[in-house]
């Protein structure tokens, strides 16, 4: 299979109460700010107009906020929705929400929590917000396997299955979290990097 070139046209790394977009630190909260407060801060700073955000679990809020920041000022309207997909991975699946949901089983099981007991719901939330209707996949691994994710997405681009993808890592369990999203496109934009595992790794570390 020939390797047609693709490009990382945007990136967003969120960890340690800090947001780095395209390699530049753009947002920081003090270390004593809790994860729910931090995510609310990101919502207020980067959106403020998406009430569904408040119903999401922390994993979806994290992934949704990362995608929001990733795609700000990046027009995607020229793509057919079915040509844009979301490929994500993490290590804790939806375990944090599984525990919260199980707590409600003792009284009245919460449908609002139950729906978030699947890790791919964050793909759904990002897809709804940005009208991405192409390929989905959610993988669960011990760590962010960048060569695998970049290889899989490259293959989908090569096959013509996708023209653009949001891919990466969205991990959250209790207070621990780590997100790294990449926008990958066949066509470059200003400041884009070659889509390779090495470049993705450099942005992540």
């Amino acid at each position: 299979m020939s390797n047609t070139s693709a490009h990382i046209t945007a990136s967003c790394i969120i960890r340690g109460n800090t947001v780095v977009k395209n390699g530049v630190r753009v947002y920081e909260a003090p270390p004593d700010v809790t994860l729910p407060e931090f995510l609310r801060g990101l919502y207020d700073r980067y959106s403020g107009q998406y009430p569904k955000f408040h119903k999401m679990d922390l994993l979806s809020k994290l992934g949704w906020a990362a995608a929001e920041i990733l795609l700000q000022e990046v027009p995607m309207e020229h793509y057919a929705p079915e040509d844009t997909g979301v490929i994500l991975a993490n290590t804790s699946s939806s375990l944090d929400t599984d525990e919260r949901y199980a707590e409600t089983m003792k009284e009245i099981a919460s449908p609002a929590l139950f729906v978030y007991t699947l890790p791919n719901i964050v793909i759904g939330e990002i897809s709804i917000r940005h009208t991405f209707k192409g390929e989905n996949a959610f993988f669960v691994a011990d760590a962010f396997d960048i060569p695998f994710i970049t290889g899989y997405v490259q293959q989908l681009l090569n096959e013509g299955t996708l023209q653009a993808a949001v891919c990466g890592w969205v991990e959250q369990y209790h207070s621990g979290y780590d997100a790294a999203l990449y926008l990958v496109e066949k066509k470059p934009r200003n400041g884009s990097l070659p889509f390779t595992a090495n470049e993705a790794e450099k942005l992540y570390r």
Binding site: E82, L95, N120, I121, G124, K133, F138, Q155
Partner: protein, 373 residues
């Protein structure tokens, strides 16, 4: 595109512990759904089925979920010369909830899906790390599609794709909280359908690109696609347009027309909205005259195993030239009519289509073809 074949398969379910026993039961019309001791219905593997097999294989140290996966993979691999010890064999595990039945015990490492997959992989002597796919109810079919892609990437010659989920209070209470559980065995596509019946089981397919190692009638994977409705996280698309798009990609990508599809093995959960969405999608994709079936009336909804179990039954029904019956179906119940039947029917065919849909707005579709090698 490189051809990928199914070298062997296995199903462990309330209907049996081999593919053969499962297919025989389905084609006879014998279902796995029964009344649960606590009330309600479920398709649960009867006590005493798994234990002797697990004991014989010395799997006492593994959880029931892990035993299911290990036994399923071992049975499938025993029918091939393919080994997980080969570095050219990928290992893929599909599940939504893994060991969630053990949540109350609070042993967090056991609950982590990649940990449980790694225990299974180690038990089976797998050379490669397991790849865990957890994408709601499309996981099993998506895992087959991913296995095909991994082989086509050139990195692997074979892929062992397995999946399992258990009948648990965790999942049952969740579907009940949505008021999505039927108070009788589920009735896919029927006018009186009232929701899902949950099930449990495991399925395995062993994929290979090496046709020379196979003989007789085998299944070749056609093209497949996944997609997202981008509409709602717990309700399906209003139009079915997205699933229809994935179906069109799968059928046209396989060089086929809708008329070439022998039948559609639908997701058919028997919720009002899912079956309605599928009916619209099948019409949009030009499959309104193609027989449609759902196996949920036999297996219940087996979540991360459903796509695998149902794809395997579909393949063997295709070999036999039979469209399986839709257990529980009596009266048409979708706004657009489908060719659904409560009885099996003979139909010569070369291809069939499997579809799945799930929470998070995800759908997947894949064509399977029969070839004589």
């Amino acid at each position: 595109m490189m051809n990928v074949f199914v070298a062997a398969d296995n199903i462990i379910s309330p209907l049996g512990v081999t593919t053969r026993s499962n297919v025989e039961q389905v084609l006879k019309g014998a279902g796995g759904i029964s009344r649960r001791p606590g009330g309600g219905y479920g398709a649960v593997i009867p006590p005493g089925t798994l234990e002797p097999l697990a004991d014989a294989a010395q799997l006492q140290a593994y959880t029931r979920f892990e035993q299911l996966l290990i036994l399923s993979v071992k049975d499938a691999l025993s029918r091939t010369h393919i080994s997980l010890r080969n570095e050219r064999t990928a290992f893929i595990v599909s599940t939504t909830k893994g060991n969630i039945a053990l949540l109350e015990e609070g042993d967090v490492p056991t609950l982590r899906l990649h940990n449980t997959a790694e225990r299974v992989a180690a038990c089976l002597g797998a050379k490669n790390k397991p790849l865990v796919v957890s994408n709601a109810c499309i996981s099993g079919l998506l895992a087959i599609l991913i296995g095909q892609r991994l082989i086509r990437s050139g990195q692997f010659d074979h892929a062992v794709v397995c999946g399992a989920d258990l009948f648990t209070p965790f999942v049952l209470s969740g579907f009940q909280s949505f008021q999505a559980v039927s108070d009788e065995p589920c009735r896919p596509f029927d006018a009186a359908r009232r929701g899902v019946t949950l099930g449990e089981g495991a399925g395995t397919v062993v994929l290979t690109n090496q046709a020379t190692s196979l003989a007789g009638m085998v299944a070749r994977l056609g093209e497949g696609a996944s997609c997202n409705d981008a509409n709602h996280i717990s309700g399906p698309s209003r139009t079915g347009g997205e699933l229809a798009g994935a179906i069109r990609k799968a059928v046209a990508g396989s060089g086929l027309r809708p008329a070439d599809i022998g039948f559609v093995s639908a997701h058919g959960t028997a919720t009002l909205y899912n079956d309605e969405m599928e009916a619209k999608a099948f019409h949009l994709a030009g499959l309104q005259q193609t027989p449609v079936n759902s196996l949920k009336g036999y297996y219940g909804h087996t979540l991360g195993a459903a796509g695998l179990i149902e794809a395997i039954v579909g393949m063997h029904a295709m070999f036999e030239g039979i469209v399986p019956a839709t257990a529980g179906f009596q009266q048409p119940g979708t706004s657009l009519p489908l060719v659904v039947s409560g009885q099996p029917r003979q139909r010569p065919m070369e291809h069939y289509l499997k579809t799945t849909s799930g929470f998070g707005g995800c759908n997947a579709a894949m064509v399977f073809s029969k070839v004589i090698l």
